[in-house]
Amino acid sequence: MKIVISLLFSLILFASCKENKKQETTLPSNSIFNLTSNWKNQNGDSLQLHNLQGKTLVVVMIYTSCKLACPILVAKMKTIESKISRKDIDKVSLVLVTIDPKTDSSARLKEFAKTNNMDAPQWVFLTSNEEATQEFANVLAMKYKKISPVDFSHSNIISVFSPNGQLVSQEEGAIEVDNVVSTVHKTVKESK
């Protein structure tokens, strides 16, 4: 019996992997993994966005010295994280991209992650240079402007991407956390 199940699983596994392979050879042309910009995570590892491939992504842009909107966005990301079912959490990355790469170094992001109890493996913090940041913001259709050496105004958007980098949905302004969570669950389920 065990063998049968195992065989069955293997079959499914093969089938699904094959399908993945098919998708892979033609990365969807609207995938954010097409971006070739270089980033660093909170551990100082260099990466490109396609290194995030394979997991459902919840993405927000913030900056760590922000006193008003960003703490709310960060709190929402934490609520979203806590509401994602534990069996799915390893299939999800929660990605915080800084809009202030000059200030937010990898080390600073690491510090921020620690202070905010966001140091579990599902949390990814990214920093790059201003050009890559601008390009990424434009991919998200996010508006932002530096209004002083330490402050930005910016739109508040949380986006969900499928494991192959396609935009699934965006919540803007008064972000409904539960909407994001259900989108994440749906996306995880569909990409199994």
Binding site: S6, F9, N34, Q134, N138, M142, I147
Partner: protein, 285 residues
């Protein structure tokens, strides 16, 4: 692959493996695709023979959008005219990844180079010297890169836009905005060739009479297009209410430009939206 086979013997933990093994598969495949990729992502450089005008920059009062009332614009170089159909054709010839049939959906909506019958042919009735339109911000940026330039910033563009044909800052002249409005209200002007009208004070052509133009940081306007909340209060917000002279409120042409910019996303391609390139003044020397 060895690991994959090994794991398959243990049906119980297959679910876990699944992701893992697929991930493994992915990285293999990724390297495969990289090697068989026909279309390269790197930009092929082309030569540009458009005259660039030195703009000394200076302090200026933005129409709206800044916390500090005055903004300093550093010296820069600006193309005297917009990028033309002919030039964009040369760009896509050298850069297959930016051709109509190859462009990634991430970088453009469905109307990219809408009227081009194929990858390397201009629309039948198009003037090769008319500004190229139906190009996204991503494509405009790539073009600028290919000629060793960049897109102008919003402040740079607006700094030049203050000029009429005899003065660097004509904003206080009563006819300034109305003259631009007259130009803005004409339809289908994007089909005309560049440099057919008079240049402005700086020697820059066609700031208003042909097309809307992308700027590098077009997405830096957070004002909503909203009569009741946005445009009045937001100005108070950004400029502390004091910076708004009546001439600004009467500058309907500037309102239109800002409205247009706020309506855009970087992948949009629009019938009357093109671009010109700029460059830092230092790097030129």
């Amino acid at each position: 692959m060895k690991r994959l086979i090994l794991y398959k013997l243990f049906g119980g933990i297959l679910t876990l493996t699944f992701l893992f093994s697929c991930n493994k598969q992915k990285s293999d495949v990724a390297s495969n695709t990289a090697s068989i990729k026909v279309v390269s992502d790197s930009i092929g450089f082309i030569s540009a023979n458009v005259k660039m005008v030195y703009i000394p920059g200076g302090e200026y009062k933005p129409f709206y959008g800044s916390d500090s009332v005055r903004v300093t614009v550093a010296p820069f170089l600006m193309d005297e005219r917009a990028v033309t159909n002919k030039e964009f054709l040369a760009f896509v010839k050298a850069n297959p990844q930016w051709r109509k049939s190859n462009i990634k959906k991430l970088y453009s909506d469905s109307t990219y180079l809408r009227d081009w019958p194929n990858d390397l042919t201009l629309p039948e009735n198009a003037n090769p010297d008319a500004p190229v339109c139906y190009v996204s911000w991503f494509a405009a940026k790539a073009f600028a890169h290919s000629v060793g330039k960049r897109l102008p910033t919003l402040d740079e563009w607006e700094f030049i836009a203050m000029a009429d044909d005899v003065s660097a800052n004509a904003r206080l002249k009563p006819e300034y905005s109305n003259n631009i409005l007259d130009l803005y209200l004409q339809k289908d002007r994007q089909y005309r060739a560049v440099k057919q009208s008079k240049p402005n004070y700086w020697g820059i052509y066609n700031m208003f009479d042909l097309i809307w133009e992308w700027t590098d940081d077009f997405n830096s306007i957070l004002t909503t297009n909203d009569s009741r909340a946005g445009q009045y209060e937001d100005k108070n917000l950004f400029c502390a209410g004091s910076a708004i002279s009546s001439t600004d409120v009467l500058n309907y042409a500037a309102f239109m430009r800002f409205a247009l910019r706020t309506s855009l996303k970087a992948n949009y391609t629009v019938a009357n939206l093109g671009f010109r390139c700029a460059k830092d003044a230092e790097t030129q020397k």
